[in-house]
């Protein structure tokens, strides 16, 4: 379970990214976080992975307040989460297999287990035949799938995806969304997006952010611009 309790995030220059928001996400829930650019979607994800700290309020993951955890505890917390970063964060000098394996090496599992796990997630995202290719040899859609594969690999029970279909054509967008659909009910999935079609077709819970506040929080909701 993820819980935001009166969370405010104010940046040093004074701009308010989140203004006293509260919500809860249940285990294995699938939800969308929507809103225009600058609404605070990325900030929510960065707060959950403790890439930044809130200016006020508390954030709970599995009933534990993550705002007062030390480095060692944060490392363990991050190993339980898979993140699809908006800017991909793929290492160009590593091939597809190695980029995904990187996320597993930190979990201290054996090389044999890493190999098995990487091959399994690559099959799931449809890139089994491209494991030895380098990022420069892949299309935007394929790169996005590599990032998703990295995020869902291992025993990560929370998947946070920041604009996973941004800049993708409609066909690729649906292929990407099918991957998330396969994980529905098995992991907690939070997708930050402003893709109206995707959100409306899934009919899942939608939290709408506007100017750092929660504008709407609807079970089986939709997205209106």
């Amino acid at each position: 379970m993820i819980k935001f309790d009166n969370v405010t995030k104010k940046f040093p220059l004074g701009n308010l990214a989140l203004d006293n928001i509260s919500f809860e996400i249940d285990d294995n829930e699938f939800l969308f976080l929507v809103g225009p650019s600058g609404a605070g979607k990325t900030t929510v994800i960065k707060l959950i992975i403790r890439e930044m700290l809130p200016s006020a309020g508390s954030i709970f993951v599995d009933s534990e307040d993550i705002t007062d955890k030390n480095f060692r505890q944060i490392e363990i917390l991050r190993r339980s989460m898979g993140v699809v970063f908006q800017d991909f964060k793929i290492l160009p000098e590593k091939n597809v297999f190695e980029n995904i394996a990187l996320a597993l090496t930190v979990t201290k599992i054996s090389n044999r287990q890493i190999k098995q796990e990487v091959e399994q997630v690559l099959s799931l995202v449809g890139l089994a035949d491209k494991k030895l290719m380098f990022p420069l040899q892949l299309s935007a859609g394929e790169l996005q799938r590599v990032v998703i594969a990295r995020a869902i690999s291992g025993k990560r029970n929370i998947i946070l995806a920041d604009e996973p279909t941004g800049n993708l054509d409609p066909k690729t967008t649906w292929e990407i969304m099918k991957i998330f659909k396969k994980l529905e009910g098995k992991k907690t999935i939070l997708i930050a997006t402003h893709n109206v079609d995707v959100v409306n077709s899934f009919k899942k819970r939608v939290i709408s952010l506007k100017n750092g506040r929660i504008a709407k929080d609807q079970r089986k909701g939709g997205y209106e611009i």
Partner: protein, 289 residues
């Protein structure tokens, strides 16, 4: 290890740059280390000999020479003073030139100067005694080993150069690691521990230190042995020079003994691995917070 070689293969120019920096640092350090050890050996050899030799004019009488000797002894700054008469000087000359009869024919005791060989208690007394003797009547020439006073200076230069090399290495390693900033940042976000992040950088630093040390040592001694015939002629007459006080361990700087070469090799690779490790440790610290 396979990850290390993969990383080197994929970033060959960065790796080569790191290796070359370590190589030059260690080569330079090796050069100054050997130079200092060699100078120490030479200085010990020279110190074992008289530190000040004063030659008297041929017309100066023995009585005057003994008077000067007594004055010098009374100063309390000398460890020993030895008088070499004209006859003894001739014997020394004859011994030194025994293979050159032409030179022996033309020399007699009358034209050779009598001398005093003086050793001082402290190196700083050398110039004082030398200056006094230069001003004394009947003295022809004063020779003294000025280099002994300069030992501290050579040690300072050595330490200074090693520090400069270390700083250059630190800066270039930091630059190299700056290129890995994205990887470090990503690893942090994936939940890697600080040790997990540092491990590949540290093992790379140690590996390059080992390779750089081995190359530096090999190339240094290849050049050294290539130049040895030239050095032999230049250092003619100088016996075996011990490595500081360790002659009983068969450690000789000149000509270098096998034990000395092994010691220098281990010191070079140890120093190389240490600066490779420390350089990368300090550089990664900047990005691991």
């Amino acid at each position: 290890m396979s990850e290390l070689f993969k990383s080197i293969r994929r970033t060959p120019y960065q790796s080569l740059a790191s290796l070359l920096i370590l190589f030059f640092t260690l080569f330079l350090s090796l050069f100054f280390f050997n130079l200092t050890a060699f100078f120490y050996g030479i200085l010990s050899y020279i110190e074992a000999k008289p530190q000040v030799t004063v030659y008297f004019q041929t017309q100066t009488s023995e009585k005057d020479i003994f008077k000067i000797r007594d004055t010098v002894v009374k100063s309390g700054k000398t460890a020993s003073v030895k008088y070499i008469s004209k006859e003894e000087a001739l014997k020394i000359y004859q011994e030194l030139n025994k293979n050159n009869p032409l030179l022996l024919e033309m020399v007699s005791a009358d034209i050779l100067p009598a001398s005093l060989e003086i050793s001082t208690k402290k190196p700083e007394h050398l110039s004082e005694i030398a200056e006094y003797l230069k001003k004394t009547a009947g003295v022809d020439e004063v020779e003294f080993q000025k280099t002994i006073v300069e030992r501290k200076t050579s040690m300072f230069i050595f330490v200074f150069l090693v520090l400069i090399s270390f700083m250059v290495l630190m800066t270039t390693t930091a630059f190299k690691i700056a290129l890995k900033k994205d990887e470090i940042e990503l690893l942090r976000l994936l939940g890697a521990s600080i040790l997990d992040i540092r491990k590949p950088f540290l093992s790379e630093g140690v590996f390059f230190g080992f390779c750089g040390g081995t190359f530096a040592w090999s190339i240094f001694f290849i050049i050294f042995f290539y130049l040895q015939p030239f050095l032999n002629s230049y250092l003619y007459g100088i016996p075996r020079l011990p490595f500081y006080q360790f002659s009983h361990y068969n450690l000789y700087v000149w000509p270098p003994s096998l034990y000395y070469l092994a010691l220098v090799y281990f010191l070079t690779i140890f120093f190389g691995m240490l600066i490779g490790f420390l350089g990368n440790y300090l550089s990664t610290s900047k990005y691991i917070k």
